[in-house]
């Protein structure tokens, strides 16, 4: 129907709910996703064939939701153009450039819903580049997708809901959990409880994880600061401190992350206006309550526009699709819009509660030693970044990148950007919102040279 060419990037909870709503309205969206199967990071499915672990084992308490999201996509499979294993590496002139099977193709869109999700926020500590140190998300992918653990005895370090979830999933899978080391103070989590009560299910789930871990003898420590990961060939122990006391926990792997960071590069390339978000300590694409970005016809749904978790992503995905339909002049059910708007309004309060419960360790940037590697791709240390800031050479992150190479490597700042921002801000005695943001450049992820093609002129 119509000349609409809606494209959705991401087949997680937000992308799938968006697609479902567009299909219900008679549209045929294209769904582009990097993974081999739909579900996103949170509800990632095991590869086809051979992997037969039941959803209850894979997702624990979330199995019902995971199953519902998976089923939703399965139900509309024939009515969407689904492009798995496909990277959207560029957005230019209202078209995406997609890489699938080593070939690049250009896909024009009339409307674009970006449901690009998030990755771990990483704040380096000494030893974090040792083999055996993984991000929380990476550890979860290993378990859910590859059916293996990152170690035999794993220490879980950082903060955020994912910290407890992944520890729980590992323990459930039969892996020894050396402990959960939360940088957040416990009283913060108590303080946040009233906010969490707005979403009792999430609160209950969190308490369940914690209770379950404790019941299984897993030590849970709050207000922890990592001192270093020790080891020669790979991690042998995590050394940490609490209230000034140093402790050492033997482990052969560390899974760490401090909440999540939104994947915003496509929104940037699409021309969306960004604003610094104090809660996420990150620049995020501006969006209205329905997910409309500053660019007409471009919508942001789920964690890619600010971290709020999978349930909020489902709501946001559907709401963005309804906004798209409204903007295209198609009929929408006002009642449904009202229901979603009400629920999404509660998400904002929940976001605040989450942020209070798992606060950012504000002392990180001042405590991290000069010789700690911050940008792994280019080998840039904390000291190098501090030096360009304190010498007056760089008062802004793109300048620091130009002078030090931080953020210039394979990850293009996706992994090291948050840490670089915090370090610069601290060195300049400024806030993380005062040092600018890394500009996205295509390709947003490494692109095989072999995907190149002769220019049209040469071909004709």
């Amino acid at each position: 129907m119509s000349g609409l060419r809606p494209v959705i990037v991401g087949a997680g909870p937000a992308g799938i709910r968006a697609a479902e709503r567009l299909v219900a309205a008679g549209l045929r969206p294209t769904v582009v996703d990097e993974a081999a199967r739909w579900g996103g990071q949170i509800y990632r499915q095991p590869p086809d064939g051979g992997f037969t672990r039941p959803k209850s084992a894979l997702y624990g308490f979330e199995a019902g939701k995971a199953d519902a999201v998976h089923q939703a996509m399965a139900a509309i499979r024939d009515r969407v153009d689904y492009k798995p294993r496909t990277l959207a590496w560029n957005c230019e002139d209202r078209a995406l450039d997609l890489l699938g099977d080593g070939v690049s193709e250009t896909l024009p869109f009339s409307h674009l819903i970006l449901a690009t999700g998030a990755t771990d926020r990483v704040l380096p500590f000494p030893g974090w580049t040792l083999p055996g140190v993984f991000t929380l998300g990476g550890s979860q992918v290993a378990l859910k997708f590859q059916g293996c653990a990152v170690g035999r005895r794993v220490a879980f370090l950082g903060t955020g809901p994912l910290l407890y979830l992944v520890a729980y999933q590992y323990l459930k899978a039969g892996v020894a959990v050396a402990g959960v080391f939360d940088t957040a103070p416990f009283d913060g989590q108590l303080r946040a409880a009233p906010g969490m009560l707005r979403d009792p299910a999430t609160l209950a789930k969190g308490l369940l994880f914690v209770g379950w871990l404790r019941a299984h003898g897993v030590p849970i420590h709050n207000n922890v600061r990592p001192l270093r990961a020790e080891g020669t060939e790979r991690v042998e122990a995590l050394v940490w401190s609490r209230n000034g006391r140093e402790e050492r926990t033997v482990c052969d792997a560390v899974a760490f992350g401090l909440n999540l960071r939104s994947e915003t590069q496509l929104a940037d390339l699409a021309g969306c206006r960004f604003r610094f978000n104090e809660m996420d300590r990150a620049w995020l694409p501006e969006r209205d309550a329905a997910g409309r970005s500053s660019v007409p016809g471009v919508y942001i749904a789920g964690d890619g526009g600010g971290i709020a978790g999978a349930d909020a992503a489902e709501l946001g995905g559907e709401r963005a699709a309804l906004a798209l339909l409204e903007d295209a002049g198609l009929p929408v059910e006002a009642d449904r819009v009202a229901v979603l708007d009400r629920r999404l309004a509660r998400v904002a309060a929940f976001r605040r509660a989450l942020s209070a419960a798992f606060p950012f360790p504000e002392d990180w940037a001042s405590s991290i030693a000069d010789d700690t590697m911050v940008c792994r791709c280019e080998g840039v240390s904390a000291g190098t970044l501090r030096a360009v800031a304190t010498s007056g050479q760089a008062r802004e992150i793109n300048r620091a990148k130009a002078l030090t190479r931080a953020g210039m490597g394979r990850c293009q700042g996706r992994m090291c950007g948050a840490a670089t921002t915090e370090l610069l801000a601290r060195a300049l005695n400024a806030g993380p919102g005062d040092v600018g943001r890394l500009r996205a450049q295509p390709p947003i992820k490494p692109l095989p040279v072999a995907a190149g093609r002769p220019s049209d002129e040469a071909a004709s």
């Binding site: 560029n90 078209a95 021309g271 300048r399 450049q441 692109l447 190149g452 220019s455 049209d456």
Partner: protein, 377 residues
């Protein structure tokens, strides 16, 4: 409260030309204020390919280029860093017999300038440059040309000038520029800063028209955007900086192993910003992999572009304004200002101090473009 700075020379634009002019003026003892809208060396001077190349330039540029060559040899002394500058050699490839002949002709025409070009072809070429295999018939090698890291070089000139006492103001756009009754220049940045100067240097790169406009000077300048890409680090296979006769792709491998390649054009997002263009990126990857099969299985980790000012004849404008005494221009380097930039800065300093430059600048006079022929886009 408005801050008022009084100086001999005001410079608009802190790229490699403005930054080096500031440095050489300070070394001559003149007082300097340099105003940069962005960060010094953050535009074309800092994001170009990084080739430091004399070979292939029009002959009229070679005297300046030779002077620049000497300056590049003194970088640590002048700006406190070698900025990853390497005299690796620049090899210009010929992929056909006429192209090889063109290289031979250029070598003859440029013989008096000291480039020491060497034509290598056939079996000798393949022996000497095994990494290039049979993808060229031969090439012309300029042994002392090379490459450097533009992100480090260009800011360092302004920084060195500041260390010698130049007033360098970054994030400081010039909103108004005019002359007072005494013929001195008055530059205003917002409400807070006023700069008064006897001389004014317009080294604002692709944005030089804005300054020239203020003095009724028609400027034939358009903005173009070189398309560049860099791969992940690879085992070293290439020492020399590579160009191809007739244009197309160019490439260099940095000591870290990343291969930097360029070719084609990006596009303008607005007058100030540009971005790589999809077809240009893909065809650059294709063409680069054809020339350098060593990168065929690598990934491109980043593409980028910049905003460069081009003139109709691809030579820069360097020298006095035709409308306004004590105003000097240096812009329009047409994608080739990086190597020559420091010598242009030095020549501008001489122009101001002595009224003339020891390097011939006649070819770069602005009045070679009659005002009536200039169409502004």
């Amino acid at each position: 409260m408005r801050e008022i700075l009084d100086c001999d020379v005001a410079i608009v634009g802190g790229g490699i030309v403005g930054g080096s002019a500031a440095l050489f003026l300070r070394r001559m003892g003149l007082s300097v204020t340099l105003l940069e809208r962005d960060w010094c060396g953050a535009k074309a001077s800092g994001v170009n390919f990084g080739g430091v190349r004399r070979q292939g330039r029009p002959l009229e540029q070679l005297p300046l280029s030779q002077r620049a060559h000497a300056i590049w040899g003194r970088l640590p002394e002048l700006i406190g860093t070698d900025a990853e500058y390497i005299r690796s050699g620049h090899l210009k490839l010929a992929r056909s017999a006429p192209d090889l002949q063109a290289l031979i002709d250029y070598r003859e025409r440029s013989a008096g300038f000291g480039l020491d070009l060497e034509i290598v072809e056939g079996e000798a070429f393949r022996r000497r440059f095994p990494a290039l295999g049979d993808r060229a018939l031969g090439g012309s090698l300029c042994p002392e040309d090379g490459h450097a890291n533009p992100r480090l070089v260009s800011p360092a000139f302004a920084r060195a000038a500041a260390a010698l006492g130049a007033v360098v103001r970054e994030q400081t756009p010039v909103d108004r520029v005019e002359r007072d009754d005494a013929g001195r220049f008055v530059l205003l940045s917002g409400e807070g800063l006023e700069v008064r100067a006897t001389h004014l240097l317009n080294t604002a790169g692709a944005w030089s028209r804005r300054v020239a406009d203020a003095f009724g000077e028609p400027v034939p300048l358009v903005s173009l955007h070189p398309n560049m890409a860099v791969t992940e680090p690879l085992p070293r296979f290439l020492d020399v900086n590579i160009g191809v006769e007739g244009g197309g792709v160019y490439g260099r491998q940095v000591p870290r192993g990343n291969m930097v390649v360029g070719g084609g054009r990006g596009f303008a997002l607005d007058p100030d910003r540009a971005r790589p263009q999809r077809d240009a990126m893909l065809s650059l990857m294709h063409d680069a992999a054809e020339l350098f099969p060593q990168i065929r299985h690598a990934h491109v980790i980043r593409c980028w572009t910049g905003v460069e000012g081009y003139t109709p004849d691809r030579n820069p404008v360097i020298g006095p304004s035709r409308t306004t005494p004590n105003l000097f221009h240096a812009f329009g380097f047409s994608g080739a200002g990086f190597q020559i930039g420091p010598a242009v800065g030095e020549a501008l300093a001489e122009l101001i101090r002595d009224g003339r430059s020891s390097a011939p600048l006649d070819a770069f006079r602005i009045d070679r473009f009659p005002p009536t022929t200039i169409t502004t886009p």
